[in-house]
Amino acid sequence: MFAFSIKRISQALFVMLIISFIGFSIRQQIGDPVRDLVGIRVSVEEREILRDKLGLNDPFAVQYIRFLGNALKGDLGHSFFFKKPTLEVILSKAPATLELVFVSSLLIIFMSIPLGIFAAIRPRHWFSRFSMGASIVGVSIPVFLTAILLIYIFSVELQWLPSYGRGETVNIGGWQSGLLTWDGLQHLILPSIALSSIMLPLFIRLIRSEMMEVLQSEYIKFAWAKGLRRRRIWFIHAFKNTLLPVITVGGVQLGILIAYTILTETVFQWQGMGFMFLEAVERSDTSLLVAYMVVVGALFVVVNTIVDLIYGLVNPMVRVTGRK
């Protein structure tokens, strides 16, 4: 298990190195750190002096090493629009996005597991057929359309739920949370449903197909032959084996939710990282854009590594012998 963890973590670090390199190259090509610092009202000579002072005329490799060093210290550049360090801007927006992803993940997990299991053990039941049919329709509806539909029904027509923003938030040690107020929770309902709508069908199908495959296996037949009760066979023998592939694929998929927050946040004007990112693109705020890339990249890598480690914990083959 130890060797396994070390291997996974070093792979993660390598991927981060590549991401930072790409990010750095982009900033070199299209960004202008001088403008980010002092704006555009500074004369050409003064800029040139500043460029020298900032080391912008140094060789590429030297600048990249410097960039890496700064990144490790938490300095990912300066946002031209916010006039603040980019990391600070991103971190102030992160809670909104993470809470949205968190609630959606909960929705996905608690909906897909029972539905997927049911569809696997009763494949001919009308409800299984219905959820399979509904899931392929669900996969075909883009997130932003689901979001718009939800807004039209619940905000415009029924006027039950708010259509944009996070509502009232509470500050807990710098973390702006909407989970603790009634208003905040109400604002969370539609965005989290919209965000989960993209992954829920995939998860139901994934759990169903993996579980059906497991149910065909010899050890399940043997479990039946042992005279075990069916609940035990379904939920202990079959489901535990279904979990392994579901964790590997599912964990990565939950990470992908972050990508879809950009769409969801746009529709609901949810003040998170995705919304901020699009604004940064509109304002050509290159430093912020690159910083977002690096932060989100890190988030993906961390999620994937954690998923791998959990997989190792659940799978006795890895846990005991360190093999994979």
């Binding site: 042992k226 202990i236 535990k240 006795p316």
Partner: protein, 336 residues
């Protein structure tokens, strides 16, 4: 005296889109307490399906369409679900072919053993573990206390099959159905496992149905043999009689295909039965074996032979031509 198990006229069908397929067609046999029966035939002959039919575990779309399976006076073919469940793994245990696949990879050996006991007896995990330890010792697993918390992948194939046998023994069943229990193992371990099974059946007075394609194994282990071909029993009777004096041309072919230690090294090649077993979707008219049979007569292509008793012996054969065999047939070398 009534038999431990009496299978009568068993018919198993598979409901497929284009109609039903008969996988087992009128199979009958009996087994007494402590008796050992070998169910022999090529793969696809219906041996395994017969085994699963006894514990009523035929996977869909298969179902028992006719006949009955009397076990201890109860008809298993019609037993309601919960009662049947309590017989499975309790009164009748099953051993599967591939020990690498039969044990659940994510549960410990201890869990997989105890759960069986706890599904049938009202006992605690502690008590169950005590029984599990006793049975592990019976199958010669060393230091069983530590084994209980280990996972299947930490054992070799032979060890795993011992554990599977121990699981089958847990509830002191009256009957064990072993479906090719040694086929997936190394040759060196096969004999070891077979001997263990034989020893345990004798010492615990358990009935055994050994499903195998290997007549050689059967001849060493069982008292009775039933030879299956294309869903039917073509010949059955005491092992001795069948091995030394087979009547059905198929059985004869099987026996000729066995390596004979006395003739080893004399350059003699094993003989094989020409052709292959027909698929269930395309059974020939009349006797299913006639396209491969070298003593067939005109009637074989028209009428399905009924199983009939052989004079003077406790055995049955289903062949039109069997009792008046023409001079011993000569096979072409190397399968024509």
């Amino acid at each position: 005296m009534s038999h431990l198990l009496e299978v009568k006229n068993l018919e198993v069908r598979f409901a497929l889109r284009f109609g039903d397929l008969t996988a087992i067609d009128g199979v009958s046999f009996t087994l007494d307490k402590g008796e050992r029966l070998g169910l022999v035939g090529e793969s696809g002959a219906g041996k395994s399906v017969t085994g699963f039919a006894i514990i009523n575990l035929i996977s869909k779309p298969g179902y028992i369409s006719r006949g009955h399976i009397l076990f201890d006076g109860e008809n298993l073919a019609e037993l309601p679900g919960e009662k049947m469940r309590d017989i499975r793994g309790n009164r009748i245990s099953m051993i599967f072919q591939d020990p690498m696949m039969t044990l659940n990879p994510v549960l410990t050996i201890g869990t997989q053993m105890c759960e069986t006991l706890m599904a049938h007896r009202n006992i605690s995990r502690k008590q169950a573990e005590a029984v599990a330890l006793e049975k592990l010792r019976k199958v010669y697993i060393s230091s069983p206390e530590q084994r209980l918390s280990q996972y299947p992948h930490e054992f070799s194939g032979g060890m795993r099959q011992r554990i599977v046998i121990a699981i089958a023994l847990l509830t002191d069943p009256a009957l064990i159905i072993a479906d090719e229990p040694t086929t997936a193992l190394d040759v060196t371990i096969q004999a070891e496992i077979m001997d263990l099974l034989l020893e345990l059946c004798a010492s615990e007075d358990m009935g055994l149905i050994l499903i195998t394609h290997d007549l050689g194994v059967v001849s060493r282990v069982t008292e009775k043999i039933a030879v299956m071909y294309a869903g039917k029993i073509v010949e059955s009777g005491p092992t001795e009689n069948i091995i030394t004096d087979p009547l059905h041309p198929y059985t004869k072919g099987l026996i000729r295909a066995l390596p004979d230690p006395e003739r080893r090294g004399q350059g003699e090649r094993l003989q094989q039965i020409p052709g292959t077993m027909p698929t269930l979707t395309a059974l020939p008219r009349g006797c299913s074996f006639h396209p491969r049979c070298e003593i067939k007569g005109g009637i074989c292509e028209k009428e399905i032979p009924e199983s009939r008793a052989v004079k003077g012996q406790k055995r049955e054969v289903a062949c039109h031509m069997a009792e008046n065999p023409s001079p011993p047939p000569v096979y072409e070398r190397e399968g024509a």
